[in-house]
Protein backbone atom coordinates (compact mmCIF):
# COMPACT_ATOMS: atom_id res chain seq x y z
CA UNK A 1 0.00 0.00 0.00
CA UNK A 2 2.83 2.40 0.90
CA UNK A 3 4.35 1.59 -2.49
CA UNK A 4 1.09 2.47 -4.18
CA UNK A 5 0.93 5.78 -2.26
CA UNK A 6 4.45 6.55 -3.39
CA UNK A 7 3.48 5.76 -6.98
CA UNK A 8 0.42 8.03 -6.82
CA UNK A 9 2.29 10.88 -5.13
CA UNK A 10 5.02 10.73 -7.77
CA UNK A 11 2.39 10.70 -10.50
CA UNK A 12 0.78 13.87 -9.09
CA UNK A 13 4.19 15.48 -8.83
CA UNK A 14 4.95 14.73 -12.49
CA UNK A 15 1.58 16.10 -13.53
CA UNK A 16 1.70 19.41 -11.67
CA UNK A 17 5.22 20.32 -10.55
CA UNK A 18 5.80 22.18 -13.82
CA UNK A 19 2.42 23.90 -13.83
CA UNK A 20 2.56 27.69 -13.58
CA UNK A 21 -0.77 28.09 -11.79
CA UNK A 22 0.18 25.62 -9.08
CA UNK A 23 3.66 27.09 -8.65
CA UNK A 24 2.20 30.60 -8.30
CA UNK A 25 -0.43 29.51 -5.79
CA UNK A 26 2.19 27.73 -3.70
CA UNK A 27 4.63 30.64 -3.83
CA UNK A 28 1.97 33.16 -2.81
CA UNK A 29 0.96 30.90 0.04
CA UNK A 30 4.50 30.69 1.35
CA UNK A 31 5.41 34.33 0.75
CA UNK A 32 2.20 36.23 1.43
CA UNK A 33 1.02 34.43 4.54
CA UNK A 34 3.56 36.28 6.74
CA UNK A 35 2.51 39.62 5.24
CA UNK A 36 -1.12 39.04 6.18
CA UNK A 37 0.05 37.86 9.54
CA UNK A 38 1.78 41.08 10.48
CA UNK A 39 -0.70 43.45 8.87
CA UNK A 40 -3.00 43.07 11.87
CA UNK A 41 -0.41 44.87 13.92
CA UNK A 42 -1.23 48.09 12.12
CA UNK A 43 -4.98 47.60 12.19
CA UNK A 44 -5.31 47.23 15.94
CA UNK A 45 -2.35 49.37 16.92
CA UNK A 46 -3.45 51.66 19.72
CA UNK A 47 -7.03 50.46 19.68
CA UNK A 48 -8.90 51.31 22.89
CA UNK A 49 -10.18 48.67 25.32
CA UNK A 50 -11.88 46.18 25.19
CA UNK A 51 -9.36 45.25 22.46
CA UNK A 52 -6.45 43.49 24.03
CA UNK A 53 -2.94 44.55 23.38
CA UNK A 54 -2.24 43.26 19.87
CA UNK A 55 1.31 42.50 20.92
CA UNK A 56 -0.04 39.55 22.85
CA UNK A 57 -1.13 37.95 19.53
CA UNK A 58 2.53 37.47 18.77
CA UNK A 59 3.47 36.03 22.13
CA UNK A 60 3.20 32.47 23.35
CA UNK A 61 0.75 30.88 23.77
CA UNK A 62 -1.66 33.20 21.88
CA UNK A 63 0.60 33.21 18.80
CA UNK A 64 -0.55 29.67 17.96
CA UNK A 65 -4.19 30.75 17.78
CA UNK A 66 -3.52 33.97 15.95
CA UNK A 67 -1.21 32.37 13.38
CA UNK A 68 -3.80 29.70 12.81
CA UNK A 69 -6.54 32.29 12.38
CA UNK A 70 -4.55 34.39 9.91
CA UNK A 71 -3.39 31.40 7.89
CA UNK A 72 -6.84 29.82 7.68
CA UNK A 73 -7.86 32.63 5.35
CA UNK A 74 -5.04 31.64 3.12
CA UNK A 75 -5.85 27.97 3.37
CA UNK A 76 -9.35 28.53 2.11
CA UNK A 77 -8.09 30.58 -0.82
CA UNK A 78 -4.75 29.23 -1.99
CA UNK A 79 -4.90 25.63 -0.89
CA UNK A 80 -8.59 25.38 -1.78
CA UNK A 81 -7.85 26.73 -5.26
CA UNK A 82 -4.98 24.30 -5.71
CA UNK A 83 -7.29 21.37 -5.02
CA UNK A 84 -9.98 22.76 -7.33
CA UNK A 85 -7.37 23.24 -10.04
CA UNK A 86 -5.75 19.81 -9.81
CA UNK A 87 -9.14 18.16 -10.12
CA UNK A 88 -11.10 20.34 -12.55
CA UNK A 89 -8.18 20.89 -14.93
CA UNK A 90 -7.98 17.12 -15.34
CA UNK A 91 -11.67 17.11 -16.22
CA UNK A 92 -11.43 19.96 -18.73
CA UNK A 93 -8.21 18.71 -20.32
CA UNK A 94 -9.84 15.27 -20.41
CA UNK A 95 -6.69 13.85 -18.84
CA UNK A 96 -8.86 12.24 -16.14
CA UNK A 97 -10.57 10.30 -18.89
CA UNK A 98 -7.25 9.50 -20.56
CA UNK A 99 -5.69 8.40 -17.23
CA UNK A 100 -8.48 5.85 -16.77
CA UNK A 101 -8.18 4.68 -20.39
CA UNK A 102 -4.43 4.35 -19.95
CA UNK A 103 -4.89 2.06 -16.98
CA UNK A 104 -5.30 4.03 -13.76
CA UNK A 105 -8.33 2.90 -11.75
CA UNK A 106 -10.89 5.45 -10.59
CA UNK A 107 -10.00 4.58 -7.03
CA UNK A 108 -6.32 5.31 -7.70
CA UNK A 109 -7.19 8.62 -9.34
CA UNK A 110 -9.33 9.75 -6.42
CA UNK A 111 -6.77 8.51 -3.92
CA UNK A 112 -4.07 10.51 -5.66
CA UNK A 113 -6.09 13.68 -5.08
CA UNK A 114 -6.79 12.86 -1.43
CA UNK A 115 -3.11 12.06 -1.01
CA UNK A 116 -2.20 15.46 -2.45
CA UNK A 117 -4.55 17.09 0.06
CA UNK A 118 -2.91 15.19 2.92
CA UNK A 119 0.60 16.07 1.75
CA UNK A 120 -0.31 19.74 1.27
CA UNK A 121 -1.85 19.76 4.76
CA UNK A 122 1.30 18.26 6.25
CA UNK A 123 3.47 20.80 4.42
CA UNK A 124 1.29 23.73 5.45
CA UNK A 125 1.21 22.52 9.06
CA UNK A 126 4.98 22.30 9.06
CA UNK A 127 5.21 25.91 7.80
CA UNK A 128 2.67 27.00 10.39
CA UNK A 129 4.65 25.37 13.18
CA UNK A 130 7.86 26.93 11.99
CA UNK A 131 6.45 30.44 11.64
CA UNK A 132 4.52 30.31 14.94
CA UNK A 133 7.65 29.26 16.81
CA UNK A 134 9.86 31.85 15.12
CA UNK A 135 7.35 34.71 15.58
CA UNK A 136 6.63 33.59 19.12
CA UNK A 137 10.29 33.44 20.09
CA UNK A 138 10.87 36.88 18.59
CA UNK A 139 8.07 38.45 20.63
CA UNK A 140 8.02 36.52 23.90
CA UNK A 141 10.77 37.48 26.31
CA UNK A 142 11.95 34.54 28.39
CA UNK A 143 9.82 31.88 26.69
CA UNK A 144 10.44 28.38 27.95
CA UNK A 145 9.36 25.05 26.53
CA UNK A 146 6.34 24.86 28.82
CA UNK A 147 5.01 28.19 27.65
CA UNK A 148 5.82 27.53 24.00
CA UNK A 149 3.96 24.23 23.87
CA UNK A 150 1.11 25.35 26.09
CA UNK A 151 -1.30 25.21 23.14
CA UNK A 152 -0.32 21.68 22.27
CA UNK A 153 -3.20 20.75 19.95
CA UNK A 154 -2.38 23.63 17.61
CA UNK A 155 -0.61 21.38 15.07
CA UNK A 156 -3.50 18.91 14.88
CA UNK A 157 -6.02 21.75 14.63
CA UNK A 158 -4.11 23.36 11.82
CA UNK A 159 -3.84 20.07 9.95
CA UNK A 160 -7.62 19.58 10.33
CA UNK A 161 -8.32 23.12 9.09
CA UNK A 162 -6.27 22.44 5.93
CA UNK A 163 -7.91 19.06 5.41
CA UNK A 164 -11.36 20.56 6.02
CA UNK A 165 -11.26 23.34 3.45
CA UNK A 166 -9.51 21.17 0.89
CA UNK A 167 -11.90 18.21 1.32
CA UNK A 168 -14.78 20.60 0.77
CA UNK A 169 -13.04 21.97 -2.33
CA UNK A 170 -12.53 18.43 -3.67
CA UNK A 171 -16.15 17.53 -2.98
CA UNK A 172 -17.35 20.60 -4.90
CA UNK A 173 -14.92 19.87 -7.74
CA UNK A 174 -16.25 16.33 -8.18
CA UNK A 175 -19.80 17.57 -8.01
CA UNK A 176 -19.62 20.64 -10.26
CA UNK A 177 -16.58 19.77 -12.40
CA UNK A 178 -16.21 23.20 -14.07
CA UNK A 179 -13.26 25.05 -12.54
CA UNK A 180 -14.41 28.67 -12.52
CA UNK A 181 -17.86 27.68 -11.29
CA UNK A 182 -16.39 25.57 -8.50
CA UNK A 183 -14.21 28.49 -7.37
CA UNK A 184 -17.23 30.78 -7.39
CA UNK A 185 -19.41 28.37 -5.41
CA UNK A 186 -16.54 27.65 -3.03
CA UNK A 187 -15.94 31.32 -2.20
CA UNK A 188 -19.66 32.10 -2.10
CA UNK A 189 -20.41 29.25 0.24
CA UNK A 190 -17.45 29.71 2.59
CA UNK A 191 -17.72 33.47 2.95
CA UNK A 192 -21.30 34.41 2.15
CA UNK A 193 -23.84 31.62 1.85
CA UNK A 194 -23.12 29.69 5.04
CA UNK A 195 -23.06 32.83 7.26
CA UNK A 196 -26.42 33.81 5.74
CA UNK A 197 -27.86 30.32 6.25
CA UNK A 198 -26.73 30.43 9.87
CA UNK A 199 -28.52 33.72 10.40
CA UNK A 200 -31.63 32.26 8.81
CA UNK A 201 -31.39 29.32 11.18
CA UNK A 202 -30.93 31.70 14.10
CA UNK A 203 -34.11 33.50 13.07
CA UNK A 204 -36.25 30.36 12.99
CA UNK A 205 -34.49 28.12 15.46
CA UNK A 206 -32.35 29.78 18.08
CA UNK A 207 -30.07 26.94 19.04
CA UNK A 208 -26.41 26.28 19.57
CA UNK A 209 -26.53 23.91 16.56
CA UNK A 210 -26.10 27.04 14.42
CA UNK A 211 -22.41 27.04 15.21
CA UNK A 212 -21.86 23.50 13.91
CA UNK A 213 -22.23 24.25 10.22
CA UNK A 214 -19.18 22.86 8.38
CA UNK A 215 -17.26 26.03 7.45
CA UNK A 216 -17.97 27.55 10.85
CA UNK A 217 -16.58 24.39 12.40
CA UNK A 218 -13.31 24.72 10.45
CA UNK A 219 -13.22 28.41 11.38
CA UNK A 220 -13.72 27.67 15.06
CA UNK A 221 -10.54 25.57 15.07
CA UNK A 222 -8.81 28.96 15.18
CA UNK A 223 -11.16 31.78 16.16
CA UNK A 224 -9.64 35.25 16.20
CA UNK A 225 -8.32 35.53 19.75
CA UNK A 226 -10.45 38.66 20.20
CA UNK A 227 -13.67 36.69 19.82
CA UNK A 228 -13.15 34.78 23.03
CA UNK A 229 -14.03 37.94 24.94
CA UNK A 230 -17.47 38.82 23.57
CA UNK A 231 -18.43 35.15 23.80
CA UNK A 232 -19.40 35.55 27.46
CA UNK A 233 -21.61 38.44 26.43
CA UNK A 234 -23.21 36.35 23.67
CA UNK A 235 -23.85 33.56 26.13
CA UNK A 236 -25.80 35.95 28.33
CA UNK A 237 -27.74 37.22 25.34
CA UNK A 238 -28.57 34.00 23.49
CA UNK A 239 -28.16 31.37 26.15
CA UNK A 240 -25.33 29.55 24.35
CA UNK A 241 -21.68 30.06 23.51
CA UNK A 242 -21.03 31.22 19.95
CA UNK A 243 -17.71 29.41 19.61
CA UNK A 244 -16.99 25.71 19.60
CA UNK A 245 -14.55 24.49 22.20
CA UNK A 246 -11.24 23.09 20.94
CA UNK A 247 -12.24 19.41 21.28
CA UNK A 248 -15.66 20.08 19.73
CA UNK A 249 -14.12 21.78 16.74
CA UNK A 250 -11.59 18.97 16.28
CA UNK A 251 -14.18 16.20 16.47
CA UNK A 252 -16.71 17.88 14.19
CA UNK A 253 -14.02 18.91 11.69
CA UNK A 254 -12.92 15.28 11.43
CA UNK A 255 -16.50 14.20 10.87
CA UNK A 256 -17.03 16.80 8.13
CA UNK A 257 -13.76 15.83 6.44
CA UNK A 258 -14.87 12.20 6.31
CA UNK A 259 -18.30 13.22 4.99
CA UNK A 260 -16.87 15.43 2.22
CA UNK A 261 -14.32 12.84 1.12
CA UNK A 262 -16.88 10.03 1.36
CA UNK A 263 -19.52 11.91 -0.63
CA UNK A 264 -16.87 12.98 -3.13
CA UNK A 265 -15.80 9.38 -3.72
CA UNK A 266 -19.40 8.18 -3.92
CA UNK A 267 -20.27 10.70 -6.64
CA UNK A 268 -16.99 10.20 -8.49
CA UNK A 269 -17.42 6.44 -8.56
CA UNK A 270 -20.98 6.63 -9.87
CA UNK A 271 -20.50 9.13 -12.66
CA UNK A 272 -19.06 8.43 -16.12
CA UNK A 273 -15.73 10.17 -16.61
Amino acid sequence: MIQNFQFLARLEWNKFSKNTVIILLLITYVLLAPVILFSVKNIFEGAPPPFPNVESFFEFPLVWDYQGYAASWFISFNLGFIVIYIFTSEVSNKTLRQNIITGLSKKEFFTSKVLTIILLSIGATFLYYLSAIIVGLMHTPGADAELIFDNNYAGIKFFLACMGYMSFALFLSVWIKRGMLVILVFIMYVHILEPILRQVQLYFWKSRTMIFWPMNTFEDLFPLPLYRLPDTWIEEQFGFKALQTGPEAMIFSSVYILIFLGLGWYMFDKKDV
Binding site: F7, R10, L11, N14, K15, K18, N19, T20, N93, K94, T95, R97, Q98, N99, I100, I101, T102, G103, L104, S105, D272, V273
Partner: protein, 295 residues
Amino acid sequence: MSNILKINNLSKKYGRIQALDNLELTIGQGQIWGILGPNGSGKTTTLGIILGILHQDSGDFEWFEGKYGQRFNMKIGAILETPNFYPYLNAVDNLKIVAQIKKAESDDIHHLLEIVDLSHRKNSPFKTYSLGMKQRLAIAATLIGNPEVLIFDEPTNGLDPQGIAEVRSILKRIADTGKTVIMASHMLDEVEKICDHVAIIKKGKLLASGKIGQIIHDDKIVEIGAEDNDKLKNWIEINGWKYSKAAHIGFEIQIPKDYDHALINKKAFEDGILLNHLIVKKRRLEEEFLHITKN
Protein backbone atom coordinates in the same frame (compact mmCIF):
# COMPACT_ATOMS: atom_id res chain seq x y z
CA MET B 1 -6.95 -18.24 -32.33
CA SER B 2 -7.99 -16.78 -29.00
CA ASN B 3 -10.58 -14.07 -28.55
CA ILE B 4 -9.27 -10.64 -27.64
CA LEU B 5 -12.66 -9.09 -27.02
CA LYS B 6 -16.16 -10.45 -26.73
CA ILE B 7 -19.09 -8.03 -26.54
CA ASN B 8 -22.48 -9.42 -25.52
CA ASN B 9 -25.80 -7.57 -25.92
CA LEU B 10 -24.40 -4.19 -25.01
CA SER B 11 -27.04 -1.47 -24.64
CA LYS B 12 -26.91 2.11 -23.46
CA LYS B 13 -29.34 5.01 -23.48
CA TYR B 14 -28.67 8.71 -23.12
CA GLY B 15 -32.02 9.91 -21.85
CA ARG B 16 -34.47 8.81 -24.54
CA ILE B 17 -31.84 8.27 -27.20
CA GLN B 18 -30.81 4.65 -27.69
CA ALA B 19 -27.05 5.03 -28.20
CA LEU B 20 -26.37 1.30 -28.30
CA ASP B 21 -28.87 -1.44 -28.99
CA ASN B 22 -27.87 -5.02 -28.18
CA LEU B 23 -24.46 -4.82 -29.76
CA GLU B 24 -22.64 -8.14 -30.28
CA LEU B 25 -19.11 -8.48 -31.55
CA THR B 26 -16.18 -10.86 -31.19
CA ILE B 27 -12.68 -9.78 -32.09
CA GLY B 28 -9.87 -12.28 -32.57
CA GLN B 29 -6.17 -11.88 -31.99
CA GLY B 30 -4.24 -10.07 -34.70
CA GLN B 31 -7.32 -8.83 -36.52
CA ILE B 32 -7.57 -5.22 -37.71
CA TRP B 33 -11.13 -4.09 -37.15
CA GLY B 34 -12.80 -1.01 -38.49
CA ILE B 35 -15.90 0.15 -36.65
CA LEU B 36 -17.69 1.99 -39.37
CA GLY B 37 -20.70 4.21 -38.99
CA PRO B 38 -21.96 7.75 -39.53
CA ASN B 39 -21.30 10.38 -36.87
CA GLY B 40 -23.47 9.76 -33.83
CA SER B 41 -23.96 6.07 -34.60
CA GLY B 42 -22.55 4.82 -31.28
CA LYS B 43 -18.91 4.17 -32.19
CA THR B 44 -17.40 6.29 -29.42
CA THR B 45 -20.00 5.07 -26.93
CA THR B 46 -19.00 1.48 -27.72
CA LEU B 47 -15.32 2.26 -27.29
CA GLY B 48 -16.02 4.23 -24.10
CA ILE B 49 -17.80 1.26 -22.56
CA ILE B 50 -15.20 -1.36 -23.50
CA LEU B 51 -12.50 0.98 -22.15
CA GLY B 52 -14.29 1.24 -18.82
CA ILE B 53 -15.06 4.97 -18.80
CA LEU B 54 -18.77 4.72 -19.58
CA HIS B 55 -21.29 2.51 -17.81
CA GLN B 56 -23.52 0.33 -19.99
CA ASP B 57 -27.19 -0.11 -19.12
CA SER B 58 -27.14 -3.81 -19.89
CA GLY B 59 -24.98 -6.46 -21.50
CA ASP B 60 -21.33 -7.14 -20.83
CA PHE B 61 -17.95 -7.52 -22.43
CA GLU B 62 -14.80 -9.48 -21.72
CA TRP B 63 -11.24 -8.64 -22.65
CA PHE B 64 -8.52 -11.26 -23.17
CA GLU B 65 -10.89 -14.04 -22.04
CA GLY B 66 -10.71 -12.59 -18.54
CA LYS B 67 -6.94 -13.10 -18.26
CA TYR B 68 -6.23 -9.69 -16.72
CA GLY B 69 -9.51 -9.16 -14.85
CA GLN B 70 -10.43 -5.49 -14.38
CA ARG B 71 -6.92 -4.27 -15.20
CA PHE B 72 -7.31 -4.98 -18.93
CA ASN B 73 -6.57 -1.31 -19.73
CA MET B 74 -2.92 -1.93 -18.89
CA LYS B 75 -2.71 -4.16 -21.99
CA ILE B 76 -4.53 -1.73 -24.28
CA GLY B 77 -3.28 1.45 -25.90
CA ALA B 78 -6.17 3.73 -26.73
CA ILE B 79 -7.24 7.21 -27.72
CA LEU B 80 -10.84 8.29 -27.59
CA GLU B 81 -12.20 11.23 -29.62
CA THR B 82 -9.42 13.77 -29.12
CA PRO B 83 -5.77 13.47 -28.06
CA ASN B 84 -5.82 14.30 -24.34
CA PHE B 85 -2.63 15.47 -22.69
CA TYR B 86 -1.40 17.97 -20.11
CA PRO B 87 -1.21 21.14 -22.26
CA TYR B 88 1.64 22.73 -20.30
CA LEU B 89 3.90 19.66 -20.44
CA ASN B 90 6.07 18.75 -23.41
CA ALA B 91 5.84 15.51 -25.39
CA VAL B 92 8.45 13.66 -23.32
CA ASP B 93 6.91 14.61 -19.96
CA ASN B 94 3.45 13.69 -21.20
CA LEU B 95 4.60 10.30 -22.44
CA LYS B 96 6.44 9.72 -19.15
CA ILE B 97 3.14 10.08 -17.30
CA VAL B 98 1.55 7.53 -19.62
CA ALA B 99 4.50 5.18 -19.05
CA GLN B 100 4.21 5.67 -15.31
CA ILE B 101 0.51 4.74 -15.31
CA LYS B 102 1.17 1.77 -17.58
CA LYS B 103 4.03 0.78 -15.24
CA ALA B 104 6.20 0.56 -18.35
CA GLU B 105 9.81 1.54 -18.96
CA SER B 106 10.14 5.06 -20.32
CA ASP B 107 13.32 4.17 -22.25
CA ASP B 108 11.58 3.80 -25.58
CA ILE B 109 9.85 7.21 -25.47
CA HIS B 110 12.44 8.80 -27.75
CA HIS B 111 12.17 5.91 -30.18
CA LEU B 112 8.37 6.22 -30.23
CA LEU B 113 8.64 9.95 -30.89
CA GLU B 114 10.81 9.13 -33.88
CA ILE B 115 8.24 6.67 -35.20
CA VAL B 116 5.57 9.39 -35.21
CA ASP B 117 8.05 12.00 -36.43
CA LEU B 118 7.88 14.33 -33.44
CA SER B 119 11.50 14.19 -32.25
CA HIS B 120 12.20 17.71 -33.43
CA ARG B 121 9.38 19.12 -31.24
CA LYS B 122 9.70 16.82 -28.25
CA ASN B 123 10.57 19.68 -25.88
CA SER B 124 7.71 22.01 -26.86
CA PRO B 125 4.57 22.12 -24.71
CA PHE B 126 1.66 20.07 -26.01
CA LYS B 127 -0.53 23.17 -26.34
CA THR B 128 1.74 24.53 -29.09
CA TYR B 129 1.18 21.49 -31.32
CA SER B 130 -0.91 21.43 -34.47
CA LEU B 131 -3.81 19.00 -34.52
CA GLY B 132 -1.82 16.57 -36.67
CA MET B 133 1.07 16.62 -34.21
CA LYS B 134 -1.32 16.09 -31.30
CA GLN B 135 -2.83 13.12 -33.08
CA ARG B 136 0.63 11.68 -33.75
CA LEU B 137 1.65 12.14 -30.12
CA ALA B 138 -1.52 10.29 -29.12
CA ILE B 139 -0.55 7.42 -31.41
CA ALA B 140 2.89 7.32 -29.80
CA ALA B 141 1.22 7.24 -26.38
CA THR B 142 -0.85 4.21 -27.33
CA LEU B 143 2.32 2.29 -28.17
CA ILE B 144 3.87 2.73 -24.71
CA GLY B 145 4.30 -0.50 -22.80
CA ASN B 146 3.92 -2.56 -25.97
CA PRO B 147 0.16 -3.23 -25.53
CA GLU B 148 -1.54 -6.22 -27.14
CA VAL B 149 -4.43 -4.16 -28.48
CA LEU B 150 -4.58 -0.67 -29.97
CA ILE B 151 -7.75 1.38 -30.20
CA PHE B 152 -8.07 4.48 -32.35
CA ASP B 153 -11.15 6.66 -32.56
CA GLU B 154 -11.42 8.72 -35.75
CA PRO B 155 -7.63 9.08 -35.89
CA THR B 156 -7.64 11.33 -38.96
CA ASN B 157 -10.57 13.51 -37.96
CA GLY B 158 -9.94 17.19 -38.60
CA LEU B 159 -6.53 16.69 -40.24
CA ASP B 160 -5.47 18.24 -43.53
CA PRO B 161 -4.75 15.88 -46.46
CA GLN B 162 -1.05 15.69 -45.62
CA GLY B 163 -1.81 14.95 -41.97
CA ILE B 164 -4.30 12.27 -43.00
CA ALA B 165 -1.71 10.62 -45.24
CA GLU B 166 0.90 10.69 -42.46
CA VAL B 167 -1.39 9.26 -39.81
CA ARG B 168 -2.68 6.56 -42.16
CA SER B 169 0.80 5.43 -43.08
CA ILE B 170 1.73 5.22 -39.39
CA LEU B 171 -1.44 3.22 -38.68
CA LYS B 172 -0.74 0.93 -41.61
CA ARG B 173 2.75 0.24 -40.26
CA ILE B 174 1.35 -0.50 -36.80
CA ALA B 175 -1.29 -2.80 -38.27
CA ASP B 176 1.45 -4.72 -40.07
CA THR B 177 3.21 -5.55 -36.78
CA GLY B 178 0.60 -8.17 -35.92
CA LYS B 179 -1.11 -6.33 -33.08
CA THR B 180 -4.86 -6.39 -32.72
CA VAL B 181 -6.25 -3.03 -33.80
CA ILE B 182 -9.74 -1.57 -33.40
CA MET B 183 -10.37 1.64 -35.28
CA ALA B 184 -13.55 3.68 -35.36
CA SER B 185 -14.14 5.75 -38.45
CA HIS B 186 -16.88 7.27 -40.53
CA MET B 187 -14.74 7.05 -43.64
CA LEU B 188 -15.13 3.93 -45.71
CA ASP B 189 -11.91 4.29 -47.68
CA GLU B 190 -9.92 4.71 -44.47
CA VAL B 191 -11.28 1.47 -43.06
CA GLU B 192 -10.76 -0.24 -46.39
CA LYS B 193 -7.13 0.81 -46.60
CA ILE B 194 -6.14 -0.22 -43.10
CA CYS B 195 -8.52 -2.90 -41.80
CA ASP B 196 -9.18 -6.53 -42.63
CA HIS B 197 -12.46 -6.76 -40.71
CA VAL B 198 -15.33 -4.35 -40.43
CA ALA B 199 -18.36 -3.82 -38.22
CA ILE B 200 -20.95 -1.40 -39.47
CA ILE B 201 -23.18 0.29 -36.94
CA LYS B 202 -25.96 2.78 -37.27
CA LYS B 203 -28.12 4.22 -34.51
CA GLY B 204 -26.46 1.85 -32.06
CA LYS B 205 -27.37 -1.27 -34.02
CA LEU B 206 -24.88 -3.61 -35.62
CA LEU B 207 -25.87 -3.87 -39.29
CA ALA B 208 -23.12 -6.14 -40.50
CA SER B 209 -19.78 -7.51 -39.37
CA GLY B 210 -17.11 -9.78 -40.80
CA LYS B 211 -14.24 -9.84 -43.24
CA ILE B 212 -14.08 -6.68 -45.22
CA GLY B 213 -14.42 -8.34 -48.65
CA GLN B 214 -17.62 -10.06 -47.56
CA ILE B 215 -19.24 -6.87 -46.33
CA ILE B 216 -18.13 -4.23 -48.74
CA HIS B 217 -17.98 -5.20 -52.40
CA ASP B 218 -14.92 -3.96 -54.21
CA ASP B 219 -16.44 -4.23 -57.69
CA LYS B 220 -15.77 -1.74 -60.40
CA ILE B 221 -18.52 0.59 -61.59
CA VAL B 222 -18.59 1.36 -65.31
CA GLU B 223 -20.99 3.71 -67.02
CA ILE B 224 -21.93 2.65 -70.55
CA GLY B 225 -24.28 3.98 -73.19
CA ALA B 226 -25.34 3.04 -76.74
CA GLU B 227 -27.55 4.29 -79.54
CA ASP B 228 -30.20 1.78 -78.61
CA ASN B 229 -30.41 1.72 -74.85
CA ASP B 230 -33.19 -0.88 -74.72
CA LYS B 231 -31.01 -3.30 -76.58
CA LEU B 232 -28.13 -2.40 -74.28
CA LYS B 233 -30.27 -3.13 -71.22
CA ASN B 234 -31.11 -6.59 -72.54
CA TRP B 235 -27.50 -7.25 -73.29
CA ILE B 236 -26.46 -6.26 -69.71
CA GLU B 237 -29.10 -8.56 -68.28
CA ILE B 238 -27.89 -11.47 -70.44
CA ASN B 239 -24.39 -10.95 -69.09
CA GLY B 240 -25.74 -11.09 -65.55
CA TRP B 241 -24.23 -7.84 -64.35
CA LYS B 242 -25.85 -5.74 -61.68
CA TYR B 243 -26.88 -2.39 -63.14
CA SER B 244 -28.74 0.77 -62.53
CA LYS B 245 -29.81 3.66 -64.71
CA ALA B 246 -27.09 6.24 -65.02
CA ALA B 247 -27.87 9.89 -64.39
CA HIS B 248 -27.05 11.23 -67.83
CA ILE B 249 -26.74 8.47 -70.34
CA GLY B 250 -27.10 4.69 -70.41
CA PHE B 251 -26.43 2.50 -67.40
CA GLU B 252 -24.05 1.96 -64.52
CA ILE B 253 -22.88 -1.63 -64.37
CA GLN B 254 -21.02 -3.39 -61.62
CA ILE B 255 -18.20 -5.71 -62.69
CA PRO B 256 -15.59 -7.63 -60.69
CA LYS B 257 -12.55 -5.60 -59.67
CA ASP B 258 -10.10 -7.52 -61.89
CA TYR B 259 -12.31 -7.52 -64.98
CA ASP B 260 -10.61 -5.56 -67.74
CA HIS B 261 -13.16 -2.94 -68.79
CA ALA B 262 -11.70 -2.83 -72.31
CA LEU B 263 -13.26 -6.23 -72.73
CA ILE B 264 -16.70 -4.73 -72.29
CA ASN B 265 -16.36 -2.74 -75.47
CA LYS B 266 -14.98 -5.73 -77.36
CA LYS B 267 -17.73 -8.02 -76.08
CA ALA B 268 -20.44 -5.49 -76.93
CA PHE B 269 -19.07 -5.03 -80.44
CA GLU B 270 -19.01 -8.81 -80.96
CA ASP B 271 -22.62 -8.98 -79.80
CA GLY B 272 -23.60 -6.25 -82.23
CA ILE B 273 -23.88 -3.30 -79.89
CA LEU B 274 -21.98 -0.13 -80.62
CA LEU B 275 -21.09 1.64 -77.41
CA ASN B 276 -20.89 5.40 -77.70
CA HIS B 277 -20.07 5.97 -74.08
CA LEU B 278 -17.82 4.14 -71.60
CA ILE B 279 -16.48 5.62 -68.38
CA VAL B 280 -14.89 3.81 -65.45
CA LYS B 281 -16.33 5.59 -62.46
CA LYS B 282 -14.72 6.29 -59.15
CA ARG B 283 -16.59 4.44 -56.46
CA ARG B 284 -18.88 6.82 -54.69
CA LEU B 285 -18.21 5.85 -51.12
CA GLU B 286 -20.95 7.85 -49.52
CA GLU B 287 -23.54 6.29 -51.79
CA GLU B 288 -22.18 2.85 -51.16
CA PHE B 289 -22.18 3.43 -47.45
CA LEU B 290 -25.75 4.64 -47.61
CA HIS B 291 -26.57 1.50 -49.54
CA ILE B 292 -25.07 -0.66 -46.78
CA THR B 293 -26.66 1.21 -43.93
CA LYS B 294 -30.05 1.42 -45.61
CA ASN B 295 -30.71 -2.31 -45.45
